[in-house]
Homo-oligomer: 198 residues x 2
DNA sequence: GATCGAATCAAACGGATGTTTCAAACGATT
DNA sequence: AATCGTTTGAAACATCCGTTTGATTCGATC
């Protein structure tokens, strides 16, 4: 769908049905015929993007028993799904936009993607921190790790301005996943040693 | 400025000059008279919000020599500036919006706020990690810490849906700052021990 | 090849938005 | 009190958008 790129670039309101249809080589009225209205097209784009964005990180880290290794695999898969420009990169942009400016579509996204992610990553973090860790600490650590990854989707324009020379090849994306995992594992190690003080 | 609230809630394009002017009790044409056009009003709002958002975290953590304590103070001040609803909370929303959908205003924001933040926090992180840490490690750690805090501004709608019962009082905001600092200090401690391996 | 539903197309409609216009009110200065 | 630059006010303007309409083409089925 070329509509996804336009929605991701311009936002829902700024995207015009005219631009989308001409860019897609279709007629203006085709949108309303096939999707009812503009909002219907938007929902279809989000659903399509969710499937086209590749496997969920939770699936890629499914069979790994060692939680520390699982975290590394999970972080790499997450960033791959978000950043790899061989996949429809507009999907993560659309998600970032939904978070800053929620519509009804956000509830669907939370149910389909975000909550599953949170539970899977929370389980990994809980396994690393050990049974003595409080649920609150697990939740906070899960959030800290998530934020480091989502940051790449939310603040990419800022990063491009701060560090214009940065590389975004598939290889360096993998390394970023390793870096997030390393930072987080370092934190979890210390926190585990100190115990569930929070 | 009531215009800031509207811009933060609806976004630039979705905000209508009519709604802003009626909500502000002013006439429709007043906007174009005082600010030239809608975009001029937007820039004025951003500049005004920057000043009204209170002191920069870098200033609040200026006189502290112990870098670990400086990090704690800095994190608390940062989240206070972002989350405290007694201050114009629309400023952080506007920033989040600019990052997802950059306009010319983002360059100004990077120069005025983001890069100073990055340099100050980077200095604190560098002091904690010690002179043996590579610049790359310092940069990554600074980014990880920043992301944990910015997450609250970017993903707040998601957090509200994931954990509806969460509290956002000034006191709990302070504690969130402590939590971010604790997680980050734990990571920095481990990384310092391992050395600049990255 | 005739038929009928689905899909496409150009054109137009109704509404909303940013901007302009021009007259009226204001306020300091003389 | 008269004057003149500044600010407000209501109304209109020009444009663009999402949607609808009705005619036309397409494609499978009999």
């Amino acid at each position: 769908m070329t509509a996804g790129e336009v929605f991701a670039r311009r936002g829902f309101r700024d995207s015009t049905v005219r631009e989308i249809s001409t860019l897609a080589g279709a007629n203006l009225a085709a949108v309303n015929y096939h999707f009812g209205d503009k909002k219907g097209l938007y929902h279809a784009v989000i659903a399509c993007g969710h499937e086209a964005a590749g496997p969920m990180p939770a699936d890629e880290a499914a069979g790994i028993s060692d939680p520390r290794e699982a975290l590394r695999v999970y972080c790499r898969a997450f960033l791959r799904r978000i950043l790899d420009h061989r996949k429809p990169e507009w999907h993560s942009k659309l998600m970032a936009r939904e978070m800053a400016e929620p519509t009804e579509a956000l509830d669907e996204m939370v149910k389909m993607m975000i909550r599953p992610h949170w539970e899977r990553l929370g389980a990994i973090v809980g396994a690393i921190l050990g049974p003595s860790a409080s649920p609150r600490l697990v939740r906070l650590a899960t959030q800290s790790i998530t934020s480091q990854m989502v940051f790449y989707a939310h603040a990419r324009p800022v990063l491009d301005r701060l560090f214009p020379a940065e590389e975004w090849s598939p290889a360096s994306i993998e390394r970023r996943g390793e870096d997030v995992a390393a930072f987080s594992l370092a934190a979890l190690d210390s926190l585990r040693r100190v115990g569930g003080k929070a």
